[in-house]
């Protein structure tokens, strides 16, 4: 087996063991996260939307399910499911838009499951999860009509986006509604930094489940993510030190 593949396999196996181990430790692992204002503001905006009878919009991006960017879409779907469970009693059903057909089907499935879990099956509407365009820019352009026309007060723009995300955040800003925004690509993150009040940068997208109390597995995975990050930092520092020493000796 080539060395990079072996290293990858060891990393995946180590992460899986750590994830399962910490998950089984149950309450012995206490949660203590740094404060991310975007999540508390988002929770507040969900409450306001339910009270006002306005809609919540989930923009899931254009990453399809057969590429590595799928993880960003899956994280966004976790958020959708958690929030819809919380807001299932709202008069105005949340709406999810996707730039990929398979992602839209998954969003419909998650919406149905969330309503069922909240005991509000009758609230589910099939057109709440929809495809709005099949290329990144056509998706962004078509989602603008959803943002402007559907009485939305809270947006979750999370998933696989490129620079086109700027069109969506500009529209939400003009609409004076709250936006929780995160993306997996660097150009999109740069655009979000300039256009959203509290953007989520880097791995913040993948910890959203933990911050929105989506379950113990999400909390534990943040611990594992932090542990792995420190390990990588140590490996990088070790490598740099060894290279420096090799140069000096």
């Amino acid at each position: 087996m080539p060395l990079p593949a072996l290293a990858g396999l060891i990393l995946v196996a180590f992460s899986a063991v750590l994830l399962i181990g910490l998950f089984l430790l149950k309450d012995r692992v206490k949660a203590s996260f740094r404060k991310i204002p975007a999540f508390s503001k988002f929770n507040k905006s969900i409450g306001t939307a339910v009270e006002n009878g306005t809609r919540i919009h989930f923009s899931l991006g254009s990453a399809d399910i057969v590429r590595p960017r799928t993880a960003a879409s899956f994280s966004a779907i976790s958020v959708l499911r958690r929030i819809v469970e919380m807001a299932a009693t709202s008069d105005a059903p949340p709406v999810a838009t996707a730039g990929d057909a398979s992602l839209a089907i998954l969003s419909q499935d998650s919406l149905r499951t969330a309503y069922r879990a909240a005991g509000a099956d009758q609230q589910y509407q099939a057109d709440s999860g929809r495809v709005t365009g099949l290329t990144p820019f056509s998706y962004a352009a078509a989602t603008l009509s959803t943002i402007y026309d559907e009485d939305i007060s809270s947006h979750s723009i999370m998933g696989g986006f490129g620079a086109e995300v700027g069109l969506l955040t500009d529209a939400t800003e003009r609409n004076d509604s709250f936006t929780l925004a995160a993306a997996d690509s660097l150009p999109a993150q740069a655009v979000l930094f300039a256009s959203v009040e509290d953007p989520l940068i880097g791995e913040d997208l993948y910890v959203s489940g933990a911050y929105l109390n989506a379950g113990r597995a999400h909390m534990v995975s943040v611990f594992v993510q932090d542990t792995l990050r420190w390990l990588i930092v140590l490996v990088l520092l070790g490598g740099a030190t060894m290279k420096l020493l090799a140069g000096l000796l």
Binding site: L19, L106, R130, D184, Y206, H218, I232
Partner: protein
Amino acid sequence: MSRYFAPAIAISTGLLVLLGYFLPLGSLAGLRVVIVHWAVVLSGAAVFVGVLNLLSVHVKKIRTKEKNNIYSLLLIASLLFTLVLGMISGSNSSIMSNIFNTIILPVEASLMAIMAVTLIYASIRLLRKRNDLMSIVFLSVAVLVMLGSAPLPFIQLPLFGDLIRPKIVNVFATSGARGILIGVALGTLLTGLRVLMGVDRPYGGK
């Protein structure tokens, strides 16, 4: 039944693909390729379902006389026109290529151009909304890099193109980007593991 069936299929196929990637043994690697091909075929079939979903959403908008439903009518007419034309002339015909090259491509390019204006406006708003050190650094770096890359008429700014821009792009931006990408990669890994363990189910089922 689907409560157990869907996670069982998802987890087992996920594990097979993962093992096939790391352990490229004959049968396992072959199985991985077959499963990935199935996913591509399913994803293609999903596009058809997606188009039907798009149609139903816009038909509902017209039926219930929602705001701006004229655009829905336009969308349905264009969709049906392109579909019929594509079925008659074939998807690789010159008519279809022309439709793509003369309508979709310029429209998307125009949207990209609008993005540039939107970003300038957003950058100006940034300082008003978030007046902190990081915003100032962000905007200053953006201006420095632009001064180093933009073709300016009549003058050529010394240092910007030769020293400052390469230093920012090749050293600071690259190292920062790598840091962010390591974080994204770890997040991707953990999200994948949660799905593989069945604790996170994006495909529904509780």
